[in-house]
């Protein structure tokens, strides 16, 4: 009997849930890997957007319209992404979030541009939250693409400034993944270090195969024998974790300045060895001074999704900006919102964020942090967490980079 009751109850609940879903006015797609080896990266971001949009809906929605967020699994394949994009567009989606993998982003930028050209009146906006190849807001910029993360040159700028400020680093080793992104990172480091201070010597510039190296010890040995005092790397995912782990095993305790030291699992894999050796640069960490609301958000996120940590701050920023733009435009039409986003500025938890009109690149403060055991919030469910380093705060103005973008507006 109880089972029947329960069944009836559950049926009622699902009908109600359906009914509430049907009221959604704006459909938004999240296209990223949600299964497979890269599933965790996509899922960590998806959970952030889930929470962000729940809060948005609770606060009245996007210019008064309720938002429905749907995840589309692209298995991190550019081809599959286009299939999913097509599916999303056909179900009425006009806004697309994506971030994992520059190849995927490039494909989506291309596909969205083609779609918008071929189907006037059904325009789609691409909101990029993590693909940081500089070209997307430079020579390859598009009116339909907005980037909420600082691109590789900007992050490198923060890192090289930090190296100069520290003053104790004269020999730098560059190591990265052997593909377009890794090459871009290395090129940026060489260029910026050369321009800023020719006294700093680059003692090694190495690219290793993407995702294929199991033991980084030989690379670490090369770094050791080069006499480097710091390592710069754009590595992400497993290549990040294994690199620093091999360094710790070999007793290499020089600073590793990274883009993605905050990847899921990196700190846990290193343990205490991460303190003072692992650095990352991003748009905000949980242990910065912040408002009680921000702390509450961080805790709510952790509570809801215990597998992950509050890492994708920019996901929340992007949703806030979208909301502000829709209100400014007084519409949820993509072209109107896109125009409203240009030049829009809002106040985030860790400082203001502005969408530069000329290339659609967000300008925001960057923070360099390292791992510490003296923190409010740990990561990977251990007590270690990220802590701002001295002089690690980079203002949006000084992080800004010029652009070569020649935007073509519709």
């Amino acid at each position: 009997m109880t089972n029947i009751k329960r069944a009836v109850l559950a049926a009622t609940v699902s009908v109600v849930a359906l009914a509430s879903a049907a009221t959604a006015d704006v459909k938004i797609a999240f296209i990223d890997p949600l299964s497979g080896p890269f599933g965790p990266s996509g899922d960590a971001a998806f959970t952030s957007y889930k929470l962000a949009f729940e809060k948005l809906n609770a606060a009245g929605g996007l210019n008064g319209e309720q938002v429905e967020l749907t995840g589309y699994d692209n298995k991190i394949s550019p081809k599959e992404s286009l299939v999913q994009l097509q599916k999303a567009i056909d179900s009425g989606v006009r806004y697309v979030f994506q971030g994992n993998g520059s190849s995927v982003s490039a494909a989506i930028i291309d596909a969205v541009s083609k779609h918008n050209a071929r189907n006037p009146g059904e325009e789609v906006l691409f909101l990029n939250y993590a693909a940081v190849t500089p070209a997307f807001t430079n020579e390859a910029c598009s009116f339909w693409h907005f980037r909420f993360d600082a691109h590789a040159d900007m992050k490198m700028n923060a890192i090289t400034d930090y190296i100069l400020a520290r003053g104790d680093i004269n020999k730098v080793y560059l190591i990265g993944q052997d593909y377009v992104f890794g090459e871009a990172v290395a090129a940026a480091a060489v260029k910026q270090l050369g321009e800023k201070n020719s006294a700093i010597e680059i003692v090694g510039n190495e690219l290793h195969p993407l995702g294929k190296v199991k033991d980084f010890t030989p690379y670490i040995q090369k770094i050791q024998s080069s006499g480097a005092q710091a390592v710069i790397t754009g590595n992400w995912g497993q290549d990040m974790v294994l690199l620093v782990k091999a360094a710790a095993d070999s007793g290499l305790t020089i600073p590793f300045l990274t883009f993605y030291g905050g990847s899921v699992g990196a700190v846990a894999a290193l343990g205490e060895g991460a303190m003072g050796t692992l650095y990352q640069v991003n748009e905000g960490i949980t242990n910065l001074e912040a408002s009680p609301e921000q702390y509450a958000l961080i805790e709510e996120y952790k509570d809801r999704f215990p597998d992950y940590d509050y890492y994708y701050h920019r996901a929340f920023l992007a949703v806030d900006m979208l909301k502000a733009a829709a209100e400014k435009a007084g519409s949820t039409d993509p072209i109107a919102v896109a125009n409203a986003l240009e030049g829009l500025s809002i106040n985030g938890a860790y400082g203001p964020i502005t969408m530069r009109a000329e290339d659609h690149q967000a300008q925001q403060n960057l923070y360099i942090s390292t791992v510490s055991d003296d923190v409010k919030y740990g990561v990977d469910n251990i007590k270690l967490g990220w802590k701002l380093v001295d002089g690690g705060s980079v203002s949006a103005a000084s992080a800004e980079e010029p652009t070569t973008c020649k935007m073509e507006r519709p």
């Binding site: 294929k212 030989p218 899921v264």
Partner: protein
């Protein structure tokens, strides 16, 4: 000089791990003709089981129990899976293990999650053993060395000095003969498959915390293991050993070579800025095993030391 010493040392350890993985596959492949695609998945299972057991008890118990557990799973797979497919031929068996690899991957993700687990080197082994040319050498690597050598010697003893070993050896070179000896062939097969998987599991136990324990570890290790078995030669554990060491050292030392094609073929007018000239030997390292695989199969299909063609 120091590069060479480190390359040799690390290459040896990597090679020994590879051998531990591939010795099981060589046994299985040579006797049953099954190129077990899921072999690396058992390696992964070994690492995850060890992680769980270590969480409850300690590393040493995990070292003992995890391989046994993995071996038992392997026996089950043979008994209720492979044996059924056997009648449909080798291609069906190969495809069965191919599907099994998918399945194990997914099950691992359900049980242990999609991210890497924090499977750590035990504290009793987590120290620096010696310092060489200013670089610390972790004790755990030497521990891997010892476990591998211990396993190597035990395997050798088992094969050369015991009755079971003689049967297995006979079966390695003449798989059809075992039945005539009056042995229960299905039982022998099940045992060998289980033992092979247990060896893979053991490699997982000591390799999982040396590298990283995540759901992708099987996919990454899988193809290399085939290479070792095929390059080494069918039915030849010695061959597998040589191939494993060769690939281990080759891959490790290629990384430390800075030369690019332009340096080597510079006399032909190739420049470092050209696309081909810019390729370094180091970046070729992961491709080397597969190049070896293809070349060996074309030039010497019996492998380095095997006596039968694949």
């Amino acid at each position: 000089m120091e590069t060479i010493v480190f390359s040799l040392l690390n290459g040896t350890i990597y090679g020994l791990l590879l051998f531990m993985l591939s010795s099981g596959l060589t046994l299985i492949f040579s006797m049953m003709g099954v190129l077990n695609f899921a072999h690396a998945s058992f390696y992964m299972l070994g690492a995850y089981c060890a992680y769980t057991i270590m969480g409850v008890t300690n590393f040493w118990l995990a070292l003992l129990l995890a391989p046994i557990l993995v071996g038992a799973v392997g026996m089950g797979v043979e008994r209720w899976g492979l044996r059924k497919v056997h009648a449909n031929g080798h291609v069906a068996e190969l495809l069965f293990t191919f599907g099994l690899a998918y399945l194990i991957d997914e099950v691992v993700k359900i049980i242990w999650g999609r991210t890497s687990v924090n499977y750590k080197v035990p504290e009793s082994l987590d120290f620096t053993l010696f310092t060489l040319y200013g670089s610390n050498y972790p004790a755990y690597r030497i521990f891997i060395l010892f476990v591998s050598i211990f396993m190597l010697v035990s395997l050798w003893y088992l094969l050369k000095k015991t009755r079971v070993g003689l049967i297995i050896q006979a079966a390695l070179t003449h798989p059809h003969m075992v039945g005539h000896l009056g042995h229960n062939v299905p039982l022998v097969f099940m045992g060998v498959f289980g033992a092979g998987c247990a060896l893979a599991g053991l490699a997982g136990v000591i390799g999982g915390n040396y590298f990283i324990t995540d759901p992708a570890m099987a996919v990454q290790m899988g193809p290399i293991v085939f290479v070792v078995v095929v390059v080494g030669g069918l039915g030849s554990l010695e061959g597998a050993f040589v191939a494993a060491m060769l690939i281990g050292i080759l891959q490790t030392s290629a990384v430390s070579i800075n030369a690019s094609f332009a340096d080597i073929f510079g006399f032909l007018g190739m420049t470092a800025t050209s696309e081909v000239g810019g390729i370094t030997i180091a970046s070729l390292a992961p491709m080397l095993p597969f190049l070896m695989l293809v070349l060996i199969l074309i030039v010497k299909p019996t492998g380095l030391m095997g006596d039968r063609e694949v």
